[in-house]
Symmetry: C2
Subunit: 356 residues, 2 copies
Amino acid sequence: MLNFAVGPVMMEDKILRLGAEQIPYFRTAEFSAIMKENEEMMRQCMGAGNGSRVLFLTGSGTAAMEAVVWNVFTSRDHVLVVNGGSFGARFAKLCRIHRIPCTEICLPFGQTLTEADLAPYDGQGYTGFLVNLLETSSGVSYDIDLISRFCHKNGCLLACDAVSSFLADPLFMEKQGIDVVLTGSQKCLALPPGLSVITLNARAVRRVEENEIESMYFDLKDCLKNGERGQTPFTPAVSVLIQLHARLEDITKRGVESEFARTSELAAHFRRGIEGLPLEITSARLSNAVTPLHPLNTSAYSVFLTLKDEYDIYVCPNGGDQADQVFRVGHMGHLTKADNQKLLDAFSDMQRRGLL
Amino acid sequence: MLNFAVGPVMMEDKILRLGAEQIPYFRTAEFSAIMKENEEMMRQCMGAGNGSRVLFLTGSGTAAMEAVVWNVFTSRDHVLVVNGGSFGARFAKLCRIHRIPCTEICLPFGQTLTEADLAPYDGQGYTGFLVNLLETSSGVSYDIDLISRFCHKNGCLLACDAVSSFLADPLFMEKQGIDVVLTGSQKCLALPPGLSVITLNARAVRRVEENEIESMYFDLKDCLKNGERGQTPFTPAVSVLIQLHARLEDITKRGVESEFARTSELAAHFRRGIEGLPLEITSARLSNAVTPLHPLNTSAYSVFLTLKDEYDIYVCPNGGDQADQVFRVGHMGHLTKADNQKLLDAFSDMQRRGLL
């Protein structure tokens, strides 16, 4: 089996072996030490500054999106949301659910955000900005420096979903003026799904501490407090946190830049490989993490099904309106150029068979 | 390492091996089939009736407690909550957070609920009842038949936390008149933590469907809808769900009664073994799942630490006021009488050393 989906992704042998170990009891000094190191290594990988904190939530990326919207913003904010696909729409819906006033910047599928898109909102009193750095549904990577400049100028608190882009595209919270980043375990961290990670800078920590929310599980104040002793309020995904520790040790040893470089190289290799195939890239601004493709001669969903059923290869289908138009090839996790070549060979074979 | 904590617990080799496998992409017919079978097998293990549904939530047991309180009850309910320890207190706090009118029946630590405790609330118009069947903090197992009779007579919707008691103590939703049961992956299911499971009977399903809650992640209506096609709204803990499938296949093959019998036998063996040791059982009504113990000559927390540091054995410390008074020995998961014996030998050795 080869998995080019955008999560869960292929895991390293070392991580898989940890998945076969008995899980220790976790209200111990030993597990607290692992968690404190996880926090420190995540801060390093995020380029987070002094006073920043990292929270580990047992739940999907959407759980972290909801926790951030709910804990960081209030009804006194006015938040700009970039909505260029289903995850942007989700941020907007979360704002509505939690009564955070918001304005959506709606972008056509596959299009990126430009200076011109932002211009009408400049100087209009916005206090927050929510963006999925990589809109996973369309494979569009937004220009974080453009967004950051806008937020700095307007005094907006900037919260970014980097679920799919963390470790694939360069991200440095402090340097790029980002206040909050959330990510998930099953993307470039290449761990089992079920864990999400929220990094808050000092300003965002203050926001959380001053806010009162009507939930026990999503109360990030409680997570901050428990985190001081390396614990979580409720039983966490202990095994995934132990695997995270092993993964972060490797990443911090090599340096986060080597992760960006590896993913970038893998993506470039794949994109060179599809030249000449009847596949069209549909994103105006690509991330290293994923290549969204429109097959010129057949339904995208049928390509997904054929690869799964006849080649034992997963790519990622799109949902809704785009299901027949676009599928996505991920470059996350433990994949190599040889794996890319197997997928490219499968495409060529399908082409010979009149299936692409 | 031997783990007698009350979660995470020891896992079978077969389950551990699955933890070392690559995780497939999950928006597929194949994974939907696994999920549909998980639902059917859980219904069978719960003794749930026609029209019942099973929901899989990525999160801890507390996430499921919050989802149930929030989705099943409304401000028009008046709910009785049995509060005999920290998990009962948690149910009461969740009611307050979500503005569900509630009355707490507070019990002293270690005491069970009696007919006399319930009498003052009979015929008082209560519409709901929340109870942790096994109050894990004290190791008290409440009399479900007593509670069920009260609820039937009063027309209360009965929602039970069976996080720690599921598969340890007999539980049959339909026969015992239980409307909702929630449980977690890391107790007697003996899987990694991070997944909770909510079973709703037809009446509770209607409640959820008629209710509107202000959360995306905890919206059980969305879970019900996605569950119809064997999916979840957001990326679930795929690997734990695959492990759950293997575990439920074994359990349903043997019959759920054989799980109760196995746990009961293990608990009885341990309880016979501690006779003569300076350890006192502190629960008025025991579950098969756990034995709470008060050491007569030393601090309970020091017993926990010595066992961990010098014998590589985990028992479960109590928190707060009870930390020095009580520790707990679990009988959940992949443990044998030979494992019990190792713990009993360690106790004897500690006694010889003047440490117990």
